[in-house]
Amino acid sequence: MQKEVTFAGFGGQGIMSIGQFVAYTGMEEGSEVVWLPSYGPEMRGGTAYCTVVVSDRPIGSPIIQNPQYAVVMNRPSFDKFEPTIKPGGLIVINSSLIDVKSRRTDIDQLGVPANEIAIKHGLPRSANIAMLGAFVGRSGIIKSNNLKKFIEKKFGSRREVLESNMKILEEGLGIAENSQ
């Protein structure tokens, strides 16, 4: 089974990082993984996106036109990637910055007030972590316990940052659970 996800947003929202977190955790779980950034002539503050593939067999094409999942953190990313999602797929939308919902009836959608959650826990830059939690909770692409272990390792040297990020992650996971 191969699972594909596009993470997209403004440069600086931490899109590339949460894509890497999924790839790292997938690798630790023994899956084949690829993380591919967009590296076109981008500018600061412009759109950034990356694709992550997690699979139980060697990964062929790393370029995915139609992923199962998309995690979008700003409106241009919603407009660009919402139509590309495979039927039966999922879009996770940063409802703090995106004031529309998907009109597609053939995909699942989950709104996450990611910026509000991050601000509430004192780490406004960690809105991406709320998105990550909600996405992983809903898609099951990796195990949430393994993701937590990774986050612990990643931020372990800074206790306060770790604790706040964990709260943000938990809240994201909770949104996925409560909206089932």
Binding site: V33, V34, W35, Y39, G40, S61, P62, Q65
Partner: protein, 349 residues
């Protein structure tokens, strides 16, 4: 050793360190600058030397000079930068010195673009500099393979006292995949009697590519071609993927394009249609016999490249009329999709 998730460019840099390289010269250019960034930090940690030259022209000649001392030397660049190094590559080949170059290819000609391409095939394989010479050219299709080929590239350069080119594309450089750094089995390498590393207690050596006596220059050319024939006998590398009797179509593709074709082949297999892939890993020496054998009995051969049609010429001279040879390519940084390759194959069925 546990697997690490690494960007292709960083993995290439680390592989050079693991292969014992302590001399890296570079000039930054997208999409390979992360190699330089990585080695700027890593080289001092292992007591090595990182030097950013004033241009690729200078870097090429720094490689030439450093290689003459018998040290392992390495540089990376991308297409326009590699063009600037062609003079030095020709001199290094003529002077019979080992050196490793990695080209993370981007679209051309000219400054072109910064996205992945395979349009430097001719430059690498047919000789981008002047004179009768060849490089050993190796093309990885995953980050792991980039590491594995890097680990043997320096041994191969020493074995043949010849430049080796690792040819990737922007995709190989930019994507992250799990990698493991495995030491390859040791290669029996000739002593570096030619090295200009101080002549105390022995006769001086002279390293040169200038031979004004035509017979002496002819002899140098003949020596080179003895090496190239040996490469053809010993260094042909390729992968056969789903190549079997009953293949309707044979794809020949390398690098990133080859892995996209693997996705296509899996989709055809699910539909009960058998398509094979012959993936050259060594572009020079080209796996001519393997391509010819795999082309036996197929309806058509398709060369898929990110170029306007370069490797297809080597495919044609390998297949030698056993089957019609077609070509599909995207250029300029456009990477072919599985869907459009599928359409091309369907035309041949």
């Amino acid at each position: 050793m546990a697997k690490k998730l690494m960007k292709g460019n960083e993995a290439i840099g680390e592989a050079a360190i693991q292969a014992g390289v302590r001399n890296y010269f570079c000039y930054p250019i997208t999409p390979q600058s992360e190699v330089a960034e990585y080695l700027a930090k890593r080289m001092p940690e292992v007591g090595g030397m990182f030097l950013q030259g004033e241009s690729e022209l200078a870097v090429g000649n720094m490689i030439f000079g450093a290689a003459a001392t018998g040290e392992r030397v390495f540089t990376t660049s991308s297409s326009p930068g590699i063009s600037l190094m062609q003079e030095a590559i020709s001199y290094i080949a003529g002077a019979q010195l080992p050196a490793v170059f990695a080209n993370i290819v981007r679209g051309g000609p000219g400054l072109g673009g910064i996205l992945p391409a395979q349009s430097d095939y001719f430059q690498s394989v047919k000789g981008g500099g002047h004179g009768d010479y060849k490089m050993l050219v190796l093309a990885p299709s995953t980050v792991q393979e980039a590491v594995d080929l890097m680990m043997i590239a320096f041994d191969l350069a020493d074995k043949y006292t010849n430049p080796v080119m690792i040819i990737g594309d922007g995709m190989i450089g930019q994507m992250m995949e799990p990698v493991e750094f495995k030491k390859p089995p040791p290669m029996a390498l000739p002593p570096k009697k030619w090295a200009a590393n101080g002549c105390k207690g022995r006769d001086p050596v002279i390293i040169r590519s200038l031979f004004l006596d035509p017979l002496r220059l002819e002899q140098n050319n003949r020596e080179l071609f003895v090496k190239y024939r040996r490469m053809q006998a010993e260094e042909v590398r390729f992968e056969r993927y789903n190549v079997e009797k009953g293949n309707k179509v044979l794809i020949v593709a390398y690098g990133t394009t080859a892995r996209i074709c693997k996705t296509v082949i899996a989709d055809f297999k699910a539909r009960g249609i058998n398509v094979g892939l012959l993936r050259p890993i060594s572009l020079y020496p080209f796996p001519m016999a393997a391509v010819a054998e795999a082309a036996e009995g197929v309806k058509a051969v398709l060369s898929v490249e990110m170029s306007m049609g370069q490797m297809v010429e080597d495919v044609e001279r390998s297949v030698l009329g056993r089957a019609p040879v077609g070509f599909f390519g995207r250029v300029g940084g456009v990477v072919p999709t599985p869907e459009e390759i599928t359409v091309e194959i369907e035309k041949l069925l």
